[in-house]
């Protein structure tokens, strides 16, 4: 029944392989109807089924006594005591943002918020790790501006504060920006719900926006294939977000759950109603009948395929007992939310779609008024299903073990150590002042206030530390606790040596969380990679997953959820492997604001950890000098654990007045950032064994943290470090108005501040 048209059979046009079609035929025992084929094509797409990645994702460690819900649900959930739980999730919306940056980012925010409140949690914080090409390119500036506006417009309006994130600029993302969004929600443990369509006879109620043609085939078309030039044909798939609708939906759903009127709630995301309905039924081992005539349509002339696979935003599916229907409809009316009964749970284990049956046979509810231009659907009590498939088969997509191959160029890449060239150019005694200022002004390192002041970061009065801090810190009202959050990623390390890079990504996020005095309790990851049909990409993927898993095991952090985004590339150029880790930490008792990433006048400046001449993949080598080869820094997991525990202890005990980790730009940048924040200079010496001053300044070794310490505490701090087996060195003292490293650099704090603070506004305020 696959119709040939122009060049290709229908299944190929929908993005399915011949083998996949054969599997469908096998599953059904016959050829699929057009509607069935469309549903399989979307549900079995890479974006929905994770067919290329599932085989590797099982490697992640997912267990811990405090984990209430692990990977596989709307969000991961952990118990934080005091009767409360935290739900977290991270997702990507990369391809839509390249087509329409404002709406792509906005709908990305909307989607992940829905995942959080589908678990019964109130969304209370967002973070946005973003990656773009370099800002000398006008289109990149357009995308950057649009994405930030979209997150601002949607997040602020829907009422969830954005408390942190990243903005990284690298040529690898020029044609394919990465828009990852992280969301956190809080709930009383007893409001936790899983989306299960339990109980034959129960009803599935579609809540929220009317269904239009948004994103038809978006999942399979947009996310499962890389961009080619001339993508105008993909344009009609753009979804437009309505944060006002979403806000009402949040309030309505949380009220539904508080009143125990719903058995489960599922959000509608990729693959729309076909996914939400079949998934909730499959998880409960039940079946579901859906009537397309019951779906409120926004446009006239929509067919069943469109109604079922539409990705119109701001819609949820609630599973309810029939006795509660009146109360549910009344609640929805009060919140001005559309609500229609579109499905009923059966015990057939089949997923069946009808058109015009329910009203005819008296299923509770009624067909909504059709849109202008449509006639009401004829009712037919004998209507046959227009689709009838085993309920699990849609979610049971193919599992691929794609070929894995280390790139032939990897050895040469790793051998291209930038060290020797840079040692020649900057031997001991070379003046590094200009280098430091140049580095402070590189967009990835420069001040991001241009971005963060567009985000409401204060709503809900929880934000103790917000954008710009190493980790966001949110108090938990009603308890003494606080949460710490950080999202981090460093693609360059992963490109050079993916297993180490994977470890380093986890270490960086965990280190940031430790700097606020928290212990890490959960990790979610967003794995942004290129084309999985390229064995080199699969090699990167499998190695990164292995490295991340090793680090999570060593630090005792369970992975409670994740998202995979493949096909990030422009033409044939896969992006650098870009895993992003979001780590959640818990502070047991927060009585005052944690120490800032700043130095205080007259304090001693202490460096914890080992400084090594590790320039491979560093911002200085790659961005300032164009040398992007070599090996990434060593990822010593035991040392990391010791440093994190030590730093968190210092912060908790109030032993330090300032704390900041070393990451992009190395020790030099970390010191400069602390001086800028503290509005005071310093005099330090950077004598580290085996390092030229330039290497000590700009190398990016893992597990290094800088402390600002009251001179009366310094001995105790160093003593505690020694006892923990962590190197600790007093490198100097804060004071004056110049940033001085003997024999290395000497700049005024004012100059450093201008370089760092003015860079992004200067780049973004130029005429287009």
């Amino acid at each position: 029944m696959a119709e040939a048209s122009n060049a290709q059979p229908l299944h190929r046009q929908l993005g399915m392989t011949d083998a996949e079609l054969a599997a469908v035929v096998d599953e059904l025992g016959r050829e699929p109807t057009h509607l069935e084929l469309a549903m399989y094509s979307v549900m079995w797409s890479e974006h929905c089924s994770y067919k290329s990645s599932r085989a590797f994702l099982s490697r992640f460690p997912t267990q811990a006594p405090w984990v209430l819900v692990g990977p596989g649900e709307g969000a991961g959930v952990v118990d934080i005591g005091d009767g409360m739980a935290i739900a977290v999730r991270i997702e990507s919306h990369n391809h839509p943002s390249a087509v329409e940056p404002y709406q792509g980012a906005a709908t990305g925010v909307g989607g992940i918020i829905r995942d959080i409140f589908s678990m019964g949690a109130r969304p209370i914080a967002l973070m946005d790790p973003l990656r773009f090409g370099t800002l000398d390119d006008a289109r990149t500036r357009y995308l950057f501006e649009g994405v930030v506006s979209g997150i601002s417009g949607y997040g602020n309006s829907v009422g969830v504060p954005t408390v942190g994130g990243e903005a990284v600029f690298d040529d690898t993302y020029r044609g394919n920006p990465l828009v990852n969004v992280f969301c956190l929600g809080i709930l009383p443990t007893e409001r936790l719900v899983l989306a299960r369509a339990d109980g034959p006879g129960n009803l599935a109620v579609l809540l929220g926006s009317a269904t239009g043609r948004d994103g038809i085939g978006g999942a399979s078309v947009l996310a499962s294939q890389s961009f080619e030039a001339g993508d105008e044909a993909k344009r009609p798939s753009v979804q437009v977000g309505d944060p006002f609708e979403e806000k009402r939906l949040i309030e309505a759903c949380l009220e539904l759950l508080d009143a125990k009127l719903a058995v489960g709630v599922q959000d509608l995301g990729a693959a729309g109603l076909s996914c939400a309905a079949s998934e909730t039924a499959a998880k409960a081992g039940a079946g579901m009948d859906v009537d397309v005539a019951r779906v409120s349509k926004r446009e006239p002339g929509m067919n069943a395929v469109e109604a079922l696979t539409s990705e119109s935003q701001e819609r949820m599916l609630a599973i309810i007992e029939p006795a509660n229907l009146d109360a549910v409809l009344e609640l929805a009316k009060r919140w001005e939310i559309r609500a229609t009964v579109v499905g009923r749970v059966t015990d057939t284990a089949r997923f069946r779609i009808y058109d015009g049956l329910f009203d005819a046979i008296g299923v509770p509810g009624e067909n909504p008024r059709p849109p202008i231009g449509d006639e009401p659907t004829p009712l037919n009590s004998d209507a046959l299903p227009i689709a009838d498939v085993p309920v699990e088969s849609l979610g049971d997509g193919p599992l691929y073990h794609r070929p894995v191959a280390r790139p032939a160029t990897q050895d040469a890449l790793q051998a291209a150590d930038p060290g020797p060239q840079l040692r020649d150019k900057f031997p001991a005694g070379a003046d590094l002042s200009a280098e430091l200022l140049a580095l402070l002004a590189t967009p990835t390192i420069a001040d991001k206030t241009w971005v963060s002041r567009q985000y409401d970061h204060q709503l809900f009065l929880n934000t103790v530390a917000g954008p710009g801090a190493d980790a966001a810190v949110l108090r938990v009202k009603g308890t003494k606790k606080a949460l710490a959050l950080s999202t981090d990623g460093k693609a360059r390390f992963c490109r050079l040596e993916p297993r180490t890079g994977g470890r380093l990504v986890v270490l960086e996020a965990a280190r940031n969380v430790a700097c606020s005095g928290a212990r890490p309790i959960a990790l979610v990851n967003c794995l942004n990679f290129g084309n999985p049909e390229h064995p080199e990409v699969m090699w990167q993927f499998s190695e990164v997953v292995e490295g991340m898993s090793e680090a999570c095991e060593a630090l005792g952090i369970p992975v409670i959820g994740g998202n995979v985004s493949f096909y990030n590339a422009s033409g044939d150029d896969d992006i650098h492997p870009t895993p992003v880790a979001g780590v959640l930490g818990l502070i047991d008792e927060l009585n005052e604001r944690p120490p800032a990433a700043a130095v205080r006048a007259r304090d001693d400046i202490v460096v914890l950890g080992a400084i090594r001449p590790e320039l491979g993949g560093s911002e200085w080598a790659a961005v300032v000098h164009g040398l992007d080869g070599g090996m990434p820094p060593v990822a010593d997991l035991e040392r990391a654990r010791a440093v994190h525990d030590l730093v968190a202890t210092f912060v908790r005990e109030g032993a330090v007045t300032g704390v900041h980790d070393v990451s992009d730009g190395g020790l030099g940048v970390a010191l400069a950032e602390m001086a800028i924040a503290g509005e005071v200079g310093m005099k330090v010496e950077l004598n580290f064994d085996g390092c030229t001053p330039a290497e000590a300044c700009f190398a990016e070794p893992a597990s290094v943290v800088v402390l600002s310490v009251d001179p009366q505490e310094t001995a105790a701090v160093c003593g505690q470090a020694a006892a923990a087996g962590v190197p600790a060195r007093v490198i100097g003292v804060a004071g004056g108005d110049r940033l001085i490293a003997k024999g290395a650099f000497d700049v005024s704090v004012a100059d450093a501040t201008h370089a760092w603070r003015d860079a992004l506004p200067a780049l973004m305020n130029r005429p287009h």
Partner: protein, 82 residues
């Protein structure tokens, strides 16, 4: 050179969601207007253009729409020259 007035209306492409229009559509009945079937909200942009003739003016304004005034990914535009 003659002066032309250009009146540009920018609206959402058909099929693209219009949350603002939908919200106003829902608000009108509360004010007593129950006979409004549909509301779409767009923008009006008025320009005064120097051009040798109306056709040139129109062509230029169309270009402006494509490049700046409208977002062709989600918006449609209509130009009237007088």
């Amino acid at each position: 050179m003659p002066v032309f007035n250009a009146h540009v209306e920018v609206t959402h492409l058909p099929g693209i969601a219009d949350p603002a229009g939908a919200t106003v559509e829902r608000a009108l009945p509360a004010l007593g207007y129950t006979n409004v079937a549909q509301v779409h909200i767009g923008k009006t942009i008025k320009l005064v253009v120097d051009a040798p003739d109306a056709d040139t003016a129109r062509a230029q304004v169309n270009e402006m729409c494509e490049r700046l005034l409208a977002n062709p990914v989600i918006e449609a535009y209509e130009v009237v020259i007088s």
